[in-house]
């Protein structure tokens, strides 16, 4: 799936991945790919502007951490981020139900 298809959803996807456990950028993109069974295969660097934006909005918090002798920027979801994620999930389910209802009716 192209990055185009993720328009408007990337922020929620990143929040969902990081809400499971704090992670650095590489782990986030790997988890995104794993959970989507390879469907969300966007240029890996594009997650960083989104991560920085979410941090600036107060939905993520990040700090440097040492891991196996390497310094990594680890992101975690803030309380506000968790609340926003909850809203986004609710919105998405409502939207998906509506789309399913329409698509289902035409088959």
């Amino acid at each position: 799936m192209k990055a185009e298809a993720l328009k408007g959803h990337l922020d929620a996807l990143l929040l969902a991945v990081i809400a499971s456990r704090p992670a650095h950028g590489y782990a986030v993109i790997e988890e995104l790919r794993r959970r989507s069974a390879g469907a969300f295969d966007l240029p890996e660097g594009t997650v960083y502007p989104a991560l920085h934006r979410l941090e600036r909005a107060g939905l993520l918090h990040s700090s440097w951490a040492s891991e196996q002798g390497r310094k990594r920027r680890v992101y975690e979801v803030t309380d506000r981020g968790a609340s926003v994620l909850k809203d986004r999930k609710r919105d998405w389910r409502g939207f998906a139900r509506a789309v399913d209802a329409v698509l289902g009716a035409t088959t």
């Binding site: 328009k7 408007g8 890996e44 660097g45 594009t46 960083y48 609710r90 919105d91």
Partner: protein, 385 residues
Amino acid sequence: MSDRPPTSDPAGGVIERYLAGLGRELRLPPRLRRRILAEAREHLLDARSELGAAGWSILDAERRAVQRFGPSRQLGRLFVEDLAAATARRSAAATTLAVATVLAGFPVLVLAAIMSGGAPSDALPPPPSPLASVALLLAFQFAAVGGGLGLIRWLRWSGQPAIPVPGLRMLLRSSGVAVGSAMVAVTSELAILLDLPAADRGSRFAAALTAVSGIGSLATLVAVVAVGQAAVRATRQEQLVHGAAEPAPLPPDVLDDLLALTEVARSWSSWRWPAAARTLDLAVEAGRGAWAWLQGRWPRLASWVDLRGHPWRVCLAVTLAAAIGSAQWGRDPGEPLMTVALWSGLEAAAVVSGFVLLGGFLGLRPPVRPRRPELARADSSDYDL
């Protein structure tokens, strides 16, 4: 590219060259640039290790890691656009606060004048500082118009990761006019304060003016810094876009912004408050219906409020309304007709000169150059990742 591990000789250096190129694309504050480069380096090293473990040579693993990361120009632009949008939104928030603070001073001054025993119009005392009083009156109105346009554009682009250059330019122009006018307003207030006769300096009016100008100056100063910073970052984004040799879309006018804002509000509320979204839809439909009815019933009257079709007629209508409103406001029964006419004339001149000088600049009237259909307007969906 196939995922099968190639069999090149080990080499390396690809990642460092890529990072050097990315560093050149990141026209950002040095601290942020260092952080992004450090994160990118760790990411690329992780990818190289993973590919190396899968049997790729170092050189091919580095090439593949860099390819997966994305073109440095595209990434640099994403970061620059993202920061420019965030800074512009922050500057719009600071501007709105500054304008609200400065405008809130007006009723405070009116109240203080009344409590001091004067008429409401004494909030802008003709003597001893007529020039400062006129400047204050005009600055309030310019700040209100600029601040209002800035607020519309801020809300329109809220939640968007990036703002296209024409939209960014209009947002900053609105903020710039609002902040500039707020500066004139607080300077005029200070001038009036300094010109007050010694006997009046202990009055309620003087105390209110001191408080209003002090708080207004502080809020305006914060907004000036924020708008200046946003302008610098917007310029960097503009340089990147021009560097990409893309066709320049036409700047959005205020009607574009209002329609887009309506759509943003409808989309935002559709899943949260369906009732609000339905009400908004009904309001938009009612507005369209009323417009169609007006055009059908009184086409000549409709042309006077058609901003795109007849911007100068709209300007004339607003000027007349402003002049009449000005003649009525704070008028004392015994006030000479000449004074009333003077204030009304000033108000009318301010509206006309504002429209002539700033109408196109702020997107209140269509651009002078002809609209070409092949130049599409900036579409927020192009930036919505």
